[in-house]
Symmetry: C2
Subunit: 486 residues, 2 copies
């Protein structure tokens, strides 16, 4: 688990933050937010907010009172206590890509399968740098849609011992996910005491929550689980084309959504989501890893801290690139370092993302993890003290000398520098002799080796049997044929 002790990169003045606050206050009070769900509307009306059809106009001060109930930091329980998480403060946690329908392995690009999902969960388990598999690291397209979440949850729980994400796509899926959490941890009380799963709710921006997301938000908050409320704002499509407007809108959407969670369960662990980018005005396609999204991340960190909320940056390895090329490296790194600079607490989409999220690429998966490894070193404050000045090494070596053989070097050479996993410093001759493999080709050789290092974490037989029985029963109830694993 990484704790980011480096300074935050803050780009908004206090006056700019005030302007954004005026913006979201006006949006929530004058335009209002659409909540397409009778129960949500009833809760808001009961709390004295102005409900007109499915539109709610808010008292902004009431919104802030609700948000103030959400903890600024909370812990989450994993089935392996070594993988418990702290969300908030200086803590940063990382999840791989979520939701891609396609996978890429080398030059092969095809629909994702359960076997792919299992391998991606196993790769997540192998890496200390990934704190949670999340949920659907890829969509297992070979499974029937209605019962897919059950098999996915079973894979997440049995192949990994890290905190996982519940399925957010319907009330029923949410209830099934929560029930599986209860089985795993010994009952409702256990999971209410300390959340054991994430649930991500994407806002239907602009300013609208749809029935399925609201169903899911109501279920997960009733069970006290950690809900990420994430506006996905592509400026020019779901938001105006100015960063100021997009930030005000993002804040309006997040704070009203979190207000609802607090109405259901005061103090519910809630995470401010942000996912701000632009559309390419020529192609109409989304752009990722560009300047607008970086500025959005820097600013979102400041907004989250202003309102005392743990927050998620859109993603850590985002790119619009179709392949693992220099563009993918550049864009992914820009989104990843932005999360570190801005002090994001939760970094979703942190490994594997290609093609604007349509693809989870196995090669990029390990390359992105390498970026996290690099940045964990880069965002560790260097030790600057008398001993680190190493005056003795200079006395030993002297002007014009060489430090390679110095005692100071020999005592430290194994641990003193960051060592990359895939990046190469080999000279051209040696690199050519070894086949002229670029980073993508080297990654293609590495991930199967890493999978071989995978060990299935132990799980109590009785619990596994109960989970399996539950998945079998629910799958049959949903009218699907039972498949437990690939």
């Amino acid at each position: 688990v990484f704790v980011n002790r480096m300074p935050r990169y803050e780009v908004l003045t206090p006056e700019a933050l005030d302007t954004i606050e005026r913006g979201w206050r006006r949006l929530v009070s004058e335009i209002g937010v659409q909540f397409d769900h009778p129960r949500a509307l009833g809760l808001f009306a009961g709390a004295g907010q102005a409900v007109d059809g499915d539109r709610v106009r808010f008292d902004p001060d009431w919104v802030l009172e609700q948000v103030a109930q959400a903890p600024s930091e909370f812990s989450m329980r994993a089935r392996n206590p070594e993988h418990d998480l702290v969300i908030g403060g200086d803590h940063m946690i990382f999840a791989p890509s979520q939701g891609p329908p396609f996978v890429r392995l080398g030059d092969e690009r095809r629909d994702g399968t359960l076997a792919d999902l299992e391998r991606l969960i196993m790769l997540t388990q192998v890496f200390d740098e990934l704190d949670t598999p999340g949920g659907n690291i890829c969509e297992p397209d070979d499974l029937p849609l209605d019962s897919r979440h059950l098999v996915q949850n079973l894979a997440l729980i049995t192949l990994s011992d890290k905190v996982f994400e519940g399925d957010p796509f319907s009330a029923g899926n949410a209830r099934d996910s929560i029930r599986m959490g209860e089985i795993l941890f010994g009952g409702r009380e256990q999971i209410e005491e300390r959340p054991v799963m994430f649930a991500n709710a994407n806002v239907n921006s602009p300013l609208r929550y749809d029935p399925r997301m609201l169903d899911s938000m109501l279920e997960y908050s009733a069970a006290g689980q950690a809900v990420l409320v994430t506006p996905f704002l592509l400026m020019g499509a779901m938001a105006p084309v100015t960063i100021a407007a997009a930030l005000a809108q993002q804040t309006a959407e997040v704070l009203t959504g979190i207000s609802l969670l607090q109405l259901v369960n005061p103090g519910n662990p809630s995470i401010m989501g942000s996912f701000l980018s632009a559309i390419d005005m020529q192609s109409g396609s989304p752009a990722f890893g560009g300047p607008e999204s970086a500025l959005g991340v820097y600013a979102s960190g400041q907004i989250a801290r202003r309102y005392g909320l743990p927050w998620r940056s859109g993603g850590g390895g985002l790119t619009a690139s179709q392949t693992v090329d220099a563009q993918a490296g550049t864009e992914a790194f820009n989104t990843m370092i932005s999360a570190f600079l801005a002090g994001a607490n939760v970094v979703w989409q942190g490994a594997g993302w290609l093609e604007g999220g349509l693809v989870n690429c196995f090669e990029k998966f390990v390359i992105d993890v390498e970026m996290i490894q690099l940045l964990r070193v880069q965002f560790t404050p260097p030790v600057i003290d008398e001993e680190a000045l190493a005056f003795g090494a200079h006395e030993e070596v002297g002007p014009g000398g060489h430090f390679l053989g110095a005692v100071h070097t020999l005592e430290r050479f194994r641990e003193c520098f960051y060592r990359p996993m895939i990046a190469s410093t080999e000279n051209f001759e040696r690199w050519t002799k070894k086949g002229s493999l670029d980073q993508n080709a080297r990654a293609a050789k590495l991930w199967p080796e890493l999978l071989e290092r995978y060990e299935r974490p132990p799980l109590d037989d009785a619990i596994e049997a109960e989970l399996t029985e539950f998945v079998e029963r629910r799958t049959r109830e949903l009218g699907d044929e039972v498949v437990l694993h690939s």
Copy 2:
């Protein structure tokens, strides 16, 4: 010309900066610095510093008094006034890679030639983002070594109208470069009034200046030209393996070198160089774009500001990669964004660098320029005011709507977002149909097109004749056959 109005990313506490100051004070006073040049030693002795053989031990307060004479900001004159430069403050200027013996064009990797150098100067001239060609963007290996600097200078002066770099490799080369500046600008007085060229002096670290670099430093400072004093510190080789020690050493080397320039010419424009990275302790090869060099850049900015010096970050597109892959994108971007975060005034090696600087790659050249374009937008503070909140757009669109057709969008869609030059947002089908070209392949198509847009900047016939005559005469004096261009 870019002015970086964003905040600086500062990672050292005031106490850490004090510790580093204690470090360099002890180094310069107790270990001392070797200046292998009678005239330099004479100047230091004359100023009361302790000279013992070729070792000088300094009074650190005297060093700071000397450094205080260097301007914290100065301007430079280009032959096209639109390309005049300001060095220091919030200004950032960019130069392409300097010194690679090899070039790479697509899959071809070979020795650099005069024709390559000419094309690289022309590409530099085409891009507004590159403020100076520097000097040897690649080494023209088909020219005789003794007179190479003359042909190189002639190419720099005739093919570009931007500030250039004089040759630093000997006193004679420096005098020839200065003389060509005098011819171009109408005499010694003109170039002394305001510097017209850079000269880069690499320290022979640790703590040593060699005779050729000192020759060059003495010549250029006597002529009032802008001297970059750059320790090239690969930790583990030319510096101890701790960042604190490397920073103290870097400061010791830079400040004593700049003291010498100020002795020769009080007030001489001087730039603190920094180029700090690590060696890969397994391969023994240098690493670039990793966490150590990023931390070195962040810290170097703080040190430069403490001593009131304009400063150069090592480079802007550094990578150890052998090819234009995801590693190259990642490492180049990490070094480039570090320069922006730390507020570097001069970014050398900003385009084309591959293989740790052994290669100037034409494809990477344009990809690196795209990074500068991207970061210039990313490091422009976003406008946050009432108008930018775009409340009217929300009134027009409403919850659940779409902003693509909104008046606010239509009025701004051409200019509102960064538009990449080579990066692609095309969907997979379209990208495949167009040949599945990765960023490197697209760059290979782009740079020849950009070269076609090149226009030779006008130059007074008499001046060009005098320059040509000088080059011919000096080439013959040096015993070489005259070659003026490819």
